[in-house]
Amino acid sequence: MWSFIVRRVLIIIPMMFIISILCFAITELQPGDFLTQYLDNPRISAEQIELMRHRYGLDKPAYERYFMWIGNILTKGDFGYSFAFERPVGDLIWERMGWTVIIALLTMIFQWILAVPMGIYSALHPYSVGDYSLTVLGFVGLSIPDFFLALLFMIFMLNIGSTNIGGLFSPQFIGASWSFAKFWDLLGHLWMPLVVVGLGGLAGLMRVMRGNMLDVVGSPYITALRAHGLDEKTVKRHAIKNALNPMVSIAGAELPNVFSGTIIIAIVLNIPTMGPFFYSALLNHDQYLVMTFLMFIALITQIANLFADIALAMLDPRIRMN
């Protein structure tokens, strides 16, 4: 087990190295650089732009800039400098990390709390009206573009006269210290991104859970449990436990998806996560911010997969790590 974990962790290092080259290449391929937007600005002369280009190091050849960037990450933990925000990229991302992680995790919890019981119900009542309704509901959730759903919710909230639209807090609570009223206000804002992002993955999760459960319920060991005279409740408990095991690896794959699924929604709903940040950095050619964000999301994917593998190995003794 330990050798497996060590090997998996070690693989991440060369992977991240190649990923960093890829991220750099993508941002280099973008036409123009951060200073291109100043070319049309009559208040800034061509000489000034040249000066800035030199100061930002943008006049150096690409490979030199790449090695400088990667060297600074390895030696100083410095992820580069954001041109637009005029601050270190590491600090900027760190600041936004809190809400991003909270919203991603809450979204996943929301999905799982709904999807698992729905899947179990569907599997225990296959081809019933309830099963079909849940399937159709799941498909609708899967098919509705999340930004469209967000717009619909916003229209709905406007129509019922609510002001809890966009952002995470009402204006009077921004900067206020934590209180019950502030927490309540937060909940009033928070449900929308959770529901909007969560609905998308709900259908897939539900279908997988339903499939797993159907497989398990039909397997010989469940028949054996019944033959032993165990009551239905105990049988069900065994079935659910075994059907849940493969879901762990899906949870690992789901986290990065939820993470990136919040990007568009956060832009629409104006939520201070990394999403709107990444978007504006892309538009501004804020190269180091884009690269670091992409690296970060790739790292999260790697780590989530690693944890999923380890958790699966611990939960399911049939899986051997050789």
Partner: protein
């Protein structure tokens, strides 16, 4: 047709949701083909008198309750004396009948015939009355006509993108599985690498590579390229797995002994054997591509004016003030949802039909 084919067809046509999806898709693609004919106006024509005009109500009975066939009332404009906002009210004295096959803006049908006949509309010039089924946007353009024009982009991007990615995925996957060795290792590592990014940030990052000064037809091709560049990897992986088991089969050995070249074995013998999977995965990846295009365009990184797509149309509805004053701007979203839902239903039905054990996983 052999018995397996019959069984598949029968099972597919019995799937109720799949049939509903299929009918909707056929209607939607008819709409794409007839887009210019169905839309009463040119999608790019602006009418300053109808800025943010609400959807026109179609009436059948006039004020006195007399049946008059379908008609609309011409609009009366007034400005709010405080906010200067335009508001529209129906002018009950001016009845404008809605007619079929009316003459309107000239357009060229499929780029071949020049005509000015539209499926329906009003005969009055747009300065005196307009039939705005979905309302108008902030330039006074007819949203219904724009939605029709957008369907041409939104419904084809997914189709072409998926086709390209399936072709790339099938060939690379089959080559990788058939030859094995270092080609296989290299390709698989590369796929793993690209798959360690979630799709949305990768879409957005690749979309910003397209130069902003490109004309909109090039941007369209660029978006197709971006979508298919990211879409082929999952397919390649599964095809590789299938080819790995197929290449040990006797018919491949027979082909090898007969001296058929490796490339020909892949194209002629291995890929056709994965065809049922490829068909299913094609229908199931189209919705993802449609959503991808609309997301990219919604954020303003995709399709550009004067071309339009459903995602780009929704972009105008993004602000709170737009949602409050012109909520009809979100109507194109319903079309995205319908298209994606129908493809999902059809894909699901196909998957159930092709695979008796239902083991083909959704990507």
């Amino acid at each position: 047709m052999n018995s397996t084919g019959k069984r598949i067809m029968k099972s597919f046509f019995r799937h109720k949701l799949g049939m509903i999806g299929l009918v909707i898709l056929i209607l939607m693609y008819l709409m794409v083909l007839m887009a210019d004919f169905i839309s009463p106006y040119n999608y790019a024509t602006t009418s300053s008198g109808y800025v943010n005009a609400p959807p026109t109500k179609i009436h059948f009975f006039d004020e006195s309750g007399k049946f008059r066939g379908p008609f609309i009332y011409a609009l009366k404009k007034s400005r709010d004396p405080v906010t200067y906002m335009l508001s529209f009210t129906e002018d009950k004295s001016r009845i404008v009948p809605v007619k079929f096959f009316v003459k309107g803006d000239e357009y060229s049908f499929w780029g071949i015939w020049k005509t000015n006949i539209h499926l329906f509309g009003v005969e009055e010039p747009s300065s005196s009355a307009m039939l705005l089924l979905f309302g108008a946007d902030r330039f006074g353009r007819d949203l219904f006509s724009r939605t029709m024009a957008g369907s041409k982009v939104s419904m084809t991007v997914g189709l072409i993108g998926t086709f390209i990615s399936v072709v790339i995925g099938a060939i690379i996957g089959a080559l990788s599985g058939f030859y094995g060795g270092w080609i296989d290792i290299l390709l698989q590592r590369f796929i793993e690498l690209l798959r360690s990014f979630p799709r949305i940030p990768l879409w957005l990052a690749f979309a910003t590579i397209l130069p902003p000064n490109w004309p909109s037809t090039w941007v369209y091709m660029g978006i197709v390229a971006v979508l298919s560049l990211i879409g082929w990897m999952g397919i390649a992986r599964v095809v590789r797995g299938m080819v790995l088991s197929l290449r040990e089969k006797d018919f491949v050995l027979a082909a090898k002994i007969s001296g058929v070249s490796g490339y020909k074995i892949v194209i002629k013998h291995l890929i056709p054997n994965t065809l049922s999977y490829l068909i299913v995965v094609t229908t199931l990846s189209i919705p993802g591509m449609i959503l991808g295009e609309s997301s990219i365009s919604f954020l303003g990184l995709g399709i550009k004016e004067p071309m339009t797509s459903w995602g780009l149309l929704l972009k105008q509805a993004q602000s709170l003030s737009a949602l409050q004053t012109t909520p009809w701007l979100v109507i194109p979203g319903i079309f995205i949802m319908l298209a994606v839902l129908s493809f999902n239903f059809v894909g699901d039905a196909l998957r159930d039909a092709v695979d008796p054990y239902r083991t083909v996983d959704k990507l």
